[in-house]
Symmetry: C2
Subunit: 465 residues, 2 copies
């Protein structure tokens, strides 16, 4: 299990060994969420709920099935999804009058209803979200969490009085993402997609892209400004203060179970998962180190330690299995538990506890009296270090170039004039996708790598995972 040698193989193996998912379900790309994987996904969902509730989004749940005629209303949208939806054509023993499709995303399920919910300016902004499974008939090779056909999905959908208010929403989404990414220890770049790569029906799309150790990019999610592109065909209108009827401007923000894949891929190592403390079901595992004849006192002390740490609100587990400590270390390292506390006879005599960090392997002796305080502090340090390390790796994984010859296996930063012809040529010659231009105003002083025209903004490009 060597991450550095064959990343792809390592990823598949670790997902299976840590028992995050079961890929043996008899439909390709539709995997079973095992208890451990599902707990991790639920932790991520709970973070999302917390932030979206705090910003006055309301959780809803729309039906899975969408009638074909509703789906077909926004032309670019249906064209973008036509080849990858699942169709329900029969119910019971009879064919359906109107074919139904499994939502690949919920615009066309929600917007006919939004047109009923939005009446006046007082109904705006309408800020909703849902966490549901979506379905896409993926034809490329599937990969657990990263490319699947049933996708655990988060999607927020908002309606606004005008373009400016929708833009404010996009900014709020950036802020929410910044908070979430610290919990998940996931670095990312916000890159505005090219016209030909934006979401079908969007005015513009911002990709949330991270970089995997393999040098490939992974899109964690996306944020879209729709303007009136959907509100017109779906007739989502409101009466403004002057009695005028106007179409709403809309935004969406989507993320998926890929977040689990990214955490595995970016933080895992040759020993297994390394979970960010906020995601870890078990944040601290206590392993009593028992030698012969002294088991009782150590066991009792370990149980006391467990009670104390648990009472402090840390998600802790006491491993009292009758196996050697080495076996326990192996298991919990594989499961990615951020912090291990070892307690043996000698530690007890010195009133010490051994702390072992999962992310660095670093061991330290801490006083028994301050274990709770030290554990809390160390979990915070672990989270900060994990994010900082990942961010450095992401930044180190970028190569700035002024020619497309001999590109390294990295994310590429270069110049593009913005012209569509040059863009397509860049993609063809590099065999990469242009991810887009940074939304944070990053400075660049260069030339289009094709036509040589000067440009002030860089583009990022990569091979996608």
């Amino acid at each position: 299990m060597k991450k550095g040698e064959d990343f792809s193989e390592w990823y598949n193996e670790i997902v299976e060994k840590a028992n995050l998912t079961d890929k043996r379900y008899p439909i390709k790309g539709m995997n079973v969420w095992t208890p451990y994987g599902w707990k991790i996904m639920q932790a991520i969902d709970s973070h999302i709920r917390e932030e979206f509730d705090a910003t006055n989004h309301q959780e809803v749940c729309f039906p899975l099935l969408i009638p074909e005629d509703q789906f077909a209303k926004e032309k670019a949208h249906i064209k973008g999804f036509d080849s990858e939806v699942f169709w329900v054509t029969h119910a019971g023993l009879n064919p359906l009058d109107v074919k139904l499709l499994l939502r690949p995303t919920s615009e066309t399920a929600m917007y006919p209803i939004f047109s009923l919910w939005v009446r006046s300016h007082a109904d705006l902004p309408l800020k909703t979200y849902q966490i549901v499974n979506t379905f896409r008939y993926e034809t490329k090779q599937t990969r657990a969490f990263i490319r699947v056909r049933e996708i655990h999905f988060f999607e927020s959908h908002t309606c606004h009085a005008d373009f400016e208010d929708a833009e404010r929403q996009v900014k709020e989404d950036y802020d929410i993402l910044a908070v979430l990414s610290r919990k998940w220890c996931l670095p990312y770049r916000l890159l505005k997609r090219t016209e030909w790569d934006k979401f079908p029906g969007a005015f513009y799309t911002v990709g949330i892209d991270t970089l995997l150790p393999s040098g490939r990019s992974l899109q964690l999610g996306s944020i879209h400004q729709y303007m009136e592109n959907f509100s017109k065909p779906y007739e989502i209108k409101y009466e403004d203060e002057n009695g005028e009827h106007k179409y709403v401007h809309q935004t969406t923000f989507g993320m998926s179970e890929r977040l689990v894949g990214a955490v595995v891929a970016i933080h895992g190592d040759d020993k297994g998962l390394v979970l960010p403390p906020d995601i870890a079901t078990t944040q601290v595992v206590i392993v009593p180190v028992l030698a012969k004849g002294e088991t009782e006192a150590v066991s009792k002390a370990a149980r006391e330690l467990f009670d104390e740490v648990k009472a402090a609100g840390i998600r802790v587990r006491l491993d009292e299995r009758d196996v050697r400590p080495g076996v326990k270390y192996y298991d919990w390292e594989l499961k990615g538990v951020p912090l291990r506390l070892e307690l043996g006879k000698r530690d007890m005599e010195k009133e010490k506890v051994t702390f072992v960090r999962r992310d660095t392997g670093e061991k330290s002796l801490k006083g028994r009296g301050s274990v709770v305080q030290d554990a809390k502090a160390m979990l915070e340090v672990v989270a900060k270090d994990m994010l900082a390390r990942a961010r450095n790796e992401m930044d180190d994984g970028v190569a700035t170039v002024d020619s497309l010859d001999k590109l390294p296996e990295k994310m590429i930063r270069t110049g593009w004039c913005g012209g569509e012809d040059c863009g397509h040529e860049i993609e063809a010659r590099s065999d990469m996708d242009i991810l887009g231009t940074p939304v944070d105003g990053e400075k660049f002083d260069g030339k289009c790598v094709i036509c040589g025209k000067p440009t002030k903004v860089p583009i990022y490009m990569a091979r996608a995972m």
Copy 2:
């Protein structure tokens, strides 16, 4: 909106006025969960999770789609569901090789995988559950929460070494249900279904039946003992301590969004919803009663009261809208908030707060100093009273008869010899369904209402909602 006059009409109106669901989605029986309805459903889900986690069940999430050949393995099961499943026949632009169906329930999705998870006696008992949406092509008239085509569903699935251990699980399910029903203030009867009415593939089925004010019964869920009926076709086997290979015995427990419908139907009144305190998103609403010239002091006092109640962990809301108190009372009564606190100038002077119970309408003055304590105590009393009242109504709604002539519009308790012919004749002559015999050993000294043979157990029967 008169519950006593036209229950069915009242139910439909109240669900809409309280904005629990939106039925205008363009597919019949597939409704939109609005924010308020979804919060109530999520409260119920969280209670379920709490109890099943506490009894060592593990949450999983299996795929939605089931291949036709897996579905067909248990013959009674497929026969029972054949006429009511949705079929996915195409993906993208092409027909699928193997048709896929949307789960109507998850036995046939889970059990092929259980056969991989269960290897030895050490893997048993396997106790899992999931909360997902299921799909049934309902041909009868649909009704929000009660009869829908996309069903928010809870299902636990367990595997055991032998019949006795599976029976212990059924008993544990009864215990869990008892805890949950107190939170939901829902009374019920556990009735063992007839052979012809049991779940397709089950060895036996116990229905969880309650009674609606209309005199009709509503099945809230069911608990099934499968014995080896599924483990044989799905080959779920384990090696016991002696190296012998045996089939597991299985049980399931299912409940659905009908629980929301039952809470609405049983507790609601002519003013709107009446929510059990454990389900209520807002348990206490504070309404400042402002008269001219004294608004500031009262507003400030109301905010202080709000902070205090909130800090005590009660889900509280302060209604500071600029509308008359009467409008606020109307709105929060419609929404079913269990307890309203009114605070006006005169109350303040007397250092009192007015408490108004939603379930009884009863008003009382309580000291300002003990509001938190009094509110907590009153919420507990409300919950107990709601359950007790509902239980009395359910019991009063049963008529014991020894003849099928002139049956009242109630749940009927009578004698049945247990013979299938007599059973069918009872159903035909009464135009009711036999719900079954009580599992709690309820005594009865009577005769079969058809053949006159003496019997020691009663049956319950009713018209289903």
